[in-house]
Amino acid sequence: MKKLTAVLLCLAMLFAFAGCGSAKTGSDASDGETLKVGFIYLHDENSTYDKNFIDAAKAACDKMGVEYVEKKNIPESSECTEAALDLADRGCDLIFADSFGHETFLAQAAEEYPEVMFCHATGTTAHTSDLKNFHNAFASIYEGRYLAGVAAGMKLNEMIESGKITADKAKMGYVGAFTYAEVISGYTSFYLGAKSVCPSVTMEVQFTGSWYDETAEKEAATSLINNGCVLISQHADSMGAPTACENANVPNVSYNGSTVEACPNTFIISSRINWEPYFEYIIGCVKDGKEIDKDWTGTLATGSVVITDVNEKAAAAGTAEKLEEVKGKLEDGSLHVFDVSTFTVTVKDDLNKNAKVDGDGHLTSYMADVDTDADYTPDTEAVKDGYFHESEYRSAPYFDIQIDGITLSNTKF
């Protein structure tokens, strides 16, 4: 009885609290004047991946004069749906989520709020979905990776010329998250960039099985260095690999933004996606009541694919000039990253089975899984006019071919 009274007392207290709470909220209903944009982030600024989005989102909202609302540290679960719905309740006209795993959960919120626009980075399903208010976006980051690869190749050439290594020892290491098309497309374009200037280059890739695992990334980079890799790049979101490189004094090509402050002696260059153009585009669309592209691909031309300044201390001489030249060729279409004449592919029963090659091993056909489904049905021919058409049939990458010259040391992920 006594305990019961105590419980009742506590509940009474709580409801008293509840009373104050709901009384407060009535006043801040949206005024309907300025546009409100909500952003959902997987982590906070401590992750290089999320920081890239956060900075762009704030800048775009400032520039477009709209209200910015954020929710950080939202996991890839129903909490993402709830966060999105809460933002919609709060009067957001446009809601964006930044992580791949948010996609299905954001789409659920989109179903419930058909008048609110939902946009999602790196996802793959919007172009086949019936939801009118759900959109995907990505950028042709493989072009940025290719440019970063050119910088890496030039560094290798410098090492060969100075006698530090021989040409056959020009081996790069790459720390990847998953054996997923986005990562495969990334490291392959990086490798092809390096190969375009340093033909003898090879590469070893290690996967960590996580997009953010500082310890695993650091260990993977260290073990690659121990395996004889003389230059490291990565596609994962922590500072693990760059730090390992700085400690071992091995040159590093970074991602998501410059790591020069933490790694002044080894950082060469970084490619990243600049999301500001996309944010400005979607905010503009909502403002003018225009339809947002279901599946938007940023490019070098839209300013979405960018490379940082070259760190002269670590990079080879003349890198910046060379990159300008290659960038020009990529932009005018005279150079394609996945030009089939620049690489060979081995087709076996358990390897690249959706690919067809000619006698020399050059790709002649590849059926890619562009329309995402659980059976990975190959549905779209991606090789035409002598190159693989990446990010054209869908913004998110679908190049998942294992090309010759790259070895994968742990494919378990």
Partner: protein, 370 residues
């Protein structure tokens, strides 16, 4: 003379064990502790951020219960944490340090997800749901049983054992989320059976989470009765107080350990079921989201009483939800809300000290030296 005087000098205060305190006095101390915690938090808030502490608290309350959706959300989160807490309670009451709830929840969720994926288009719903329920309960129970068997047979250290079982569960989930990932190789399963809703717990009256909340409410009452009024519950508390006493009065300690861990694991398995089939409709490494550890705090704070656990869970969930809102509204780092949560919990745990012990100041005892 001076020496002698120093020798018998009383300290400024000393601490003595209290007799059982009347219930209202104990609650008065608890309420005072919360009030003191709020004052300290307010001071910290002003010093560190310059924000008005009243506004910060109002924002917290708004974040937790400001809209109907938030109230549902709060209840859902409460149900999930409470379910895991109910799972760990019998084990902890028996002084079996089960810190493997995280793994037991995950493996229960894993079993649920596996059934949803493998049988989703093969079995009709009326068969699929029972299969899922049995699979998740069995999976959780087995994950609890393994360390219990080792403890009972070879007296292994259950703390380490259950902890290690967590990692196995996490790696299993990692492995299968890669096997079943959509798109290929991404390591994400995404929502399972999103079009058919096969294997999803039904929503009642348009509320997706109501069924979870009801299941956990029933579990809470059952667990309360089980621990308080059943013979099993009595055996658990005797084993917890002293294994030797238990043996002396003829309780089969090994049997109690194994049986209790089976129950503990099974309830965690149910939590996994509710999280996967009733909430997320997918599984990731983070599905348990640390609840397996937070649950221990919930359970201890409530002194293993399932009804009080409703309150302690509410407190923790309320703080968590409020904290997210603070970081959104004031643009503060997530760590700041963790600081506030930490301070409040510190005070509440501290209040238990003052309920069990009294502080006697020098001079309050008559008859000392002048």
């Amino acid at each position: 003379m001076k020496q002698a005087e120093r020798h018998i000098r009383e300290p400024l205060f000393h601490i003595a064990k209290r007799d059982a305190l009347v219930w209202w006095a104990a609650w008065l101390i608890r309420i005072a502790a919360v009030a003191a915690a709020l004052v300290v938090c307010a001071v910290v808030t002003v010093m560190m951020t310059g924000e008005n502490p009243i506004k910060v608290y109002a924002t917290m309350i708004d974040g937790a219960i400001g809209t109907e959706r938030r109230i549902w959300n709060l209840l859902q989160s409460l149900a999930m944490l409470l379910c895991v807490s109910l799972g760990v309670t019998p084990a902890f009451k028996m002084r079996f340090w089960n810190i493997g709830a995280e793994g037991q929840v995950l493996i229960g969720g894993m079993a649920t997800a596996a059934c949803m994926i493998l049988f989703g288009d093969k079995l009709p719903t009326f068969l699929l749901l029972p299969v899922i329920i049995v699979a998740s309960i069995v999976a959780g129970a087995v994950w609890g049983l393994i360390p219990a068997l080792f403890k009972a047979k070879w007296n292994t250290n259950e703390t380490l054992f259950t902890l290690m079982m967590n990692y196995i569960a996490i790696q299993l989930v990692s492995y299968f989320s890669l096997q079943w990932s959509v798109p290929k190789g991404s390591g994400q399963i995404g929502i399972i059976n999103g079009d058919t809703h096969a294997g999803w717990l039904p929503s009642i009256g348009g509320h997706d989470y109501l069924i979870n909340i009801l299941i956990v409410a029933v579990l809470t009452v059952v667990m309360y009765i089980y621990l308080k009024y059943s013979k099993h519950g009595y055996e658990i508390s005797v084993v917890g107080e002293s294994e030797n006493t238990a043996r002396y009065i003829g309780i089969n300690v090994k049997k109690v350990i194994i049986r209790t861990m089976l129950i503990s694991g099974a309830i965690c398995g149910i939590a996994g079921l509710l999280l996967v089939s009733g909430t997320d409709h997918t599984i990731t490494r983070d599905t348990a989201a640390g609840r397996g550890f937070t649950a221990i705090m919930v359970s201890w704070l409530a002194k293993f009483n399932p009804l009080f656990m409703v309150l302690t869970t509410l407190l923790i969930v309320f703080l968590q939800k409020g904290a997210i809102e603070i970081s959104t509204i004031f643009g503060l780092n997530a760590s700041f809300s963790e600081i506030i949560t930490g301070i409040i919990i510190f005070f509440i745990i501290g209040s238990e000290f003052f309920i069990n012990y009294t502080v006697k100041f020098r001079g309050s005892d008559k008859g000392g030296k002048a």
